[in-house]
């Protein structure tokens, strides 16, 4: 009935479901707390979770599975010849289907006890082969960057759906109310194809969108007042604000949205000290910094962000996403060696360091690490030494909580063109990641425009083969 306060439909629903308004409003401040989770998720999770949090290392531009994780002897054998007509028609971005096949530009070798073959582009990750779960049969639906970036993040090739981090924030909330539950560290060069909607909350409340965080003194936008305001002066002004708001609330009985706004300033103030503490690497030992390659110019940047990712999940951030690759990124149309060489050199050691560090701190058991791009690359060459986009078959690597270690799942065909055995669609991957976090992808729903929306849309099946 009009006349009673119903500031949001969600709150209205929860009210009718018997959840206290104030607790919901407060939980809403950071999308944290279970009261704000999906109605189906008022328990901690839907079933026991293997993973408590996620670090997603997004190699933007499309790293070549054929030169990194998916060895294809047939490519060496048939290099220079066109792909046989028997493979049938397939779409490409730049009309390369008749170009000659190209052998991997780096040799592969068996690694660890598992003997997983990984190329010499990634010696450090290769040395951790026994900890990796290499999915060689991923596939998506678009040959274009932005659509594939959206699909990998939101389950949809169209713009405007909530990203996986937003869904996880909505479903599980944060473990630390002084930090956002979903943090994104973009490449310092910017230029993600598709832009910030990749970490947007879509139709979910804005409190679930990815908060971008940068290394350095001002990690979050407007974290600190503009120059010249001492912390005493700020605190004194905040005290006036709190007193004004308390007096205002007292004249207006029982309005949870007023109380929530009052509290949001206290949280913001705590975040002012919490966030710089997260990015303060002075607390890390020299050995740790060396481990992540902070002492070397080519690994320093990505290593810093990997180390920050560990610090964030230690402090209860639920979902951390890192992007490697500016507007061009791993998009090796011209020359695989020339493109992937520097990217691998910049990321291989830090990624391995992150896995080693998480493992030595006992965090890998409850943290899922994802490595991958929006698609892979074509078996035939482009411009002689490069490769075009390939969404039809490529590799995504998982490690950590709840997934098999030293394991290869699925295959592409003999040329690495399409996923063949045990194919894993992007939505299957999403369903499996949600499962690892203790959520059924068919039950993590949000009502919008008359439909119960899901990360996985109408698709998505659990991939039991990769579960430990």
């Amino acid at each position: 009935m009009f006349g009673t306060k119903v500031p949001s439909s969600r709150r209205g629903f929860l009210q009718s479901a018997g959840v206290g308004l104030t607790s919901v409003a407060l939980a809403q401040l950071f999308g944290s707390g279970r009261a704000f989770a999906s109605p189906g998720l008022q328990k901690e999770t839907q079933f026991p979770a293997k993973a408590k949090r996620v670090i997603w290392l997004f190699m933007h531009g499309g790293p070549s599975h054929l030169d990194l994780f998916d060895p294809k002897p047939e490519l060496i054998k048939h290099a220079g010849k066109p792909i046989p007509a028997s493979v049938g028609k397939f779409d490409t971005r730049r009309d390369v289907s008749k170009n000659p096949l190209m052998a991997p530009v780096m040799p592969f070798r068996k690694r660890g006890q598992s003997g997983i073959e990984i190329s010499d582009f990634l010696p450090e990750m290769g040395s951790l082969a026994d900890d990796l779960c290499v999915i060689r049969s991923c596939h998506g639906d678009s040959v274009n960057h932005p659509q594939s970036v959206y699909q990998m993040n939101t389950g949809s090739t169209l713009m405007g759906k909530p990203s996986m981090g937003s869904w996880v924030s909505y479903g599980l909330g944060s473990e630390n109310e002084n930090m956002p539950s979903f943090v994104v560290m973009p490449d310092p060069g910017g230029g993600l194809k598709g832009g910030p909607p990749a970490w947007g909350s879509g139709f979910l409340p804005a409190s679930h969108q990815g908060t971008t965080l940068r290394p350095g003194a001002s990690p979050i936008l407007n974290l600190h007042p503009t120059a010249g305001m001492s912390s005493e002066r700020q605190r004194d002004t905040l005290d006036l604000l709190r007193n004004l708001n308390e007096a205002h609330c007292a004249d207006r009985s029982d309005d949870s949205s007023l109380v929530a706004r009052l509290q949001s300033y206290e949280l913001a103030f705590r975040m002012q000290s919490a966030a710089p503490e997260v990015v303060d690497l002075s607390q890390e030992t020299a050995a740790t910094k060396k481990l992540y390659g902070l002492d070397q110019p080519h690994t320093q940047e990505f290593g810093t962000r990997c180390l920050l990712a560990r610090r964030m999940i230690e402090r209860g951030v639920r979902f951390v996403q890192l992007y490697s690759g500016n507007s061009n990124g791993w998009d090796a149309h011209d020359d695989i060696l020339h493109n992937h060489g520097p990217h691998c050199r910049a990321t291989d050691l830090p990624v391995a360091a992150l896995l080693r560090d998480l493992k030595s701190r006992g965090l890998l058991d409850e943290t899922l690490v994802i490595w991958g791009g929006e698609f892979g690359r074509m078996p035939m060459s482009e411009k002689g030494k490069g490769r075009d986009h390939n969404p039809w078959g490529y590799t995504t690597v998982l490690a950590g909580a709840g997934v098999k270690a030293g394991h290869v799942h699925g295959t592409t065909d003999e040329f690495g063109l399409r996923a063949q055995e045990d194919p894993v669609h992007v939505s299957d991957l999403h369903a499996t990641i949600l499962h690892l976090l203790g959520m059924d992808h068919e039950k993590l729903v949000y009502r919008f425009n008359g439909l119960d929306q899901r990360l996985t849309g109408t698709r998505g099946e659990l991939v039991p083969g990769i579960l430990a």
């Binding site: 439909s9 973009p186 910017g190 598709g194 804005a206 009985s253 007023l258």
Partner: protein, 655 residues
């Protein structure tokens, strides 16, 4: 329902996935009414339905189309629109117009009553923000309060009610169109770039925005307002800009799949038209029959057929800013099986959704030299004075515009999955009032605003008891916050239409979020203009708007979320913008007085459009006396006081 030729559920290829994607839904076999009541229950219980149940889609959606049953037409939104008689109420003195009779009658069934009328200073702030998005000035408040007192004290012959005069003045202000346009732009998923990878600018998109503002200010009749957005180009070339509505959504001109691009565009147009003008989620029926409402897949493609004369799209070419057909030869329209553009099904002719139309007359098109006339026929049908769904949907939105919560709380979905109206008689009466008042939006606004229901006190004046209802408080939107802050600082610049003002992003954000800017942004000419004139990108959002729940221009948004987050507090309290506003306001106040006892009330007068309460005054005085030890000069001290006021709930909420 008669379902045959059920296909397997899984999408088989990419194109299906992307169009199927619109669904993202539970497609269950339970009956709709059962689902509706049990939705909460099954989610809470973890889902009792078979998760592997197939999406039921036909290989011949025309042949297999289920008929509309008489029972389906009994659902409240689909019933013919009859004009209810205003009820009588126990205390007729409570009512100012018919709205109050309906409203109070509803309250009486639960033993409550309308709240007393709000105080003048509450009322003028409420209605001024409501119609202009800006706060009233202290002078306006004082004048209005005095006029009300004179009016109420007068006996015998009195002039017109000062409040009615105020409403008239606000509706006549150009600020009215600037404010009310935003709600419509949200519905139209309006932005000025393509989105996707390149987020290319649409150089002429502003023309649609300007058309909306101008039309609302001129009080263009609602039927024409709608007709021109569907078929303005078929009326006259000057009206073509209005059809920017159809083409306002995101688009990827460089996609390799141009046929898919066109398919998605047409489906987006159809879905948006259905949800905005009919309150019907027809988009749910693009791959198979609507799972909950009596809208078949064939209905969807018949509605789409009105738009199928869209000229071919060209790779790497942006959508035009306005609609124009290439010829009057009608396109052949087909149903896409399972929503897959690569699987053309049976042919269909343009027709209105059967549940929304029971006229038997066949459709005739008045074709033009270069246009099929199809869209004009749709526009004329939509705006018929007996189009129940259009009028209910519109009346419902207008109610939400003033009360925050619509009578049926899901304005883009009046179907079985949407909310039931809290006061169906009032909704229907208001719907019939639209054509009765010559389709004048301003007349309907005035009707609502002059009701006793709108003039009720909120719980700041009306200690809630079980006997009274109250006016629901609302938080200002991000755009209103920015505009109001500029206004109180004396910085707000008014500009007319034309290309948008480009407001730079904070440098931190610009660096890490976006593609390297291809065009160098010149410093904007009117950086302090109202927010509605600011250039809107899809891939790059102004943080103040983004944090305060502005929708992203990707899907039609009928109602914004209202979140409260710590990053909002950080931005409003710490940003350079806020500090600049606080300094300017302080400087402005110091122009008239340096006496703290005058400054303490002067600032709330500017920010809250009222005198401070005794408590506020005490707190302010204490602050100004003691805070100086932490600042370098009195202006800074006063600026901090202003900063606190601008961040306070008293400023950010409207009672």
């Amino acid at each position: 329902m008669d379902w045959t030729n059920v296909l397997p559920a899984r999408a088989e290829n990419s194109c299906q996935a992307s169009s199927l994607d619109f669904l993202m839904a539970v497609h269950r076999r339970k009956s709709p009414s059962h689902l509706k009541t049990c939705w909460c229950v099954w989610v809470l219980l973890g889902g009792f339905l078979n998760p592997t149940s197939a999406i039921e889609a036909s290989a011949d959606p025309v042949k297999d189309e289920p008929p509309i049953t008489p029972a389906a037409r009994e659902f409240w939104a689909f019933k013919p629109l009859l004009r209810p008689t205003p009820p009588s109420i126990l205390n007729p003195k409570l009512a100012r117009n018919e709205i109050d009779l309906f409203f109070q009658a509803n309250l009486e069934t639960s033993g409550t009553a309308l709240a007393p009328q709000a105080r003048p200073e509450t009322l003028i702030r409420r209605v001024t923000f409501d119609l202009t998005g800006l706060p009233p000035s202290p002078e306006e408040v004082r004048e209005f309060t005095a006029a009300i007192q004179t009016y109420e004290a007068a006996s015998g012959a009195r002039g017109p009610d000062p409040y009615t005069l105020l409403v008239d003045r606000l509706l006549a202000s150009p600020r009215y169109g600037e404010k009310s346009a935003q709600a419509w732009l949200d519905l139209a998923r309006f932005a000025e770039t393509d989105g996707f990878e390149h987020d290319a600018e649409r150089k002429l998109a502003w023309k649609y925005r300007d058309w909306v503002i101008d039309s609302l200010n001129r009080d263009l009749s609602l039927n024409e307002f709608v007709a021109r957005q569907i078929a303005g180009d078929e009326i006259s070339p000057e009206q073509a800009a209005a059809t920017g509505f159809l083409l306002a959504g995101p688009d990827m001109p460089d996609t390799n799949f141009q046929t898919e691009r066109r398919h998605l565009l047409l489906n987006d147009i159809t879905s948006t038209v259905g949800t905005v003008f009919l309150g019907l989620t027809v988009g749910c029926a693009q791959c198979h029959n609507h799972p909950f409402d009596p809208v078949s897949q064939a209905d969807f493609y018949r509605l789409r057929a009105f738009f199928d004369n869209l000229p071919p799209l060209k790779k790497d070419q942006q959508l035009p800013a306005a609609m124009a057909e290439a010829s009057n030869a009608p396109a052949v329209s087909v149903v896409s099986i399972r929503g897959d553009y690569q699987r053309p099904g049976p042919k269909v002719e343009p027709a209105f959704p059967r549940i929304a139309d029971d006229s038997d007359s066949s459709l005739a098109f008045a074709s033009l030299p270069n246009s099929s006339g199809r869209r004009m026929a749709l526009a004329r049908w939509l705006t018929r004075p007996d189009n129940r769904l259009f009028l209910r949907a519109t009346a419902n939105r207008l109610w939400q515009f003033h009360f925050g919560e619509a009578l049926a709380a899901t304005p883009n979905d009046l179907g079985h999955q949407g909310a039931v109206p809290t006061n169906p008689a009032l909704l229907d009466w208001l719907a019939t009032e639209i054509p009765a008042r010559n389709w004048s939006l301003k007349a309907i606004h005035k009707l609502i605003l002059t009701s006793a229901t709108y003039r009720q006190a909120g719980n700041n004046e009306n200690r809630p008891t079980s006997h009274h209802t109250e006016f629901a408080r609302r938080r200002l939107s991000g755009e209103e916050l920015r505009d109001a802050m500029l206004q109180v600082a004396g910085r707000l610049e008014f500009r007319g239409g034309g290309p948008s003002t480009r407001l730079p992003l904070p440098s931190d954000l610009a660096k890490s979020n976006t593609n390297k800017s291809k065009t160098k942004d010149q410093p904007p000419l009117t950086p302090n203009c109202r927010s509605v004139w600011i250039f809107t990108k899809r891939n790059e959002h102004q943080p103040l708007f983004d944090l305060f729940d502005r929708p992203d221009g990707l899907l039609s948004c009928s109602r914004r979320n209202e979140t409260t987050t710590a990053p909002q507090a950080l931005t409003l309290f710490n940003s350079e913008f806020s500090h600049g506003i606080a300094r300017d306001l302080a400087a402005r106040l110091l122009q008239t007085t340096a006496d703290p006892t005058e400054l303490v009330p002067a600032a709330p007068w500017q920010c809250f459009s009222r005198a401070p309460t005794a408590m506020e005054e005490t707190l302010g005085l204490k602050f100004l006396n003691e805070h100086g030890r932490l600042t370098s000069d009195p202006t800074e001290t006063l600026a901090d006081y202003c900063l606190a006021l601008l961040n306070s709930n008293a400023f950010c909420f409207v009672d």
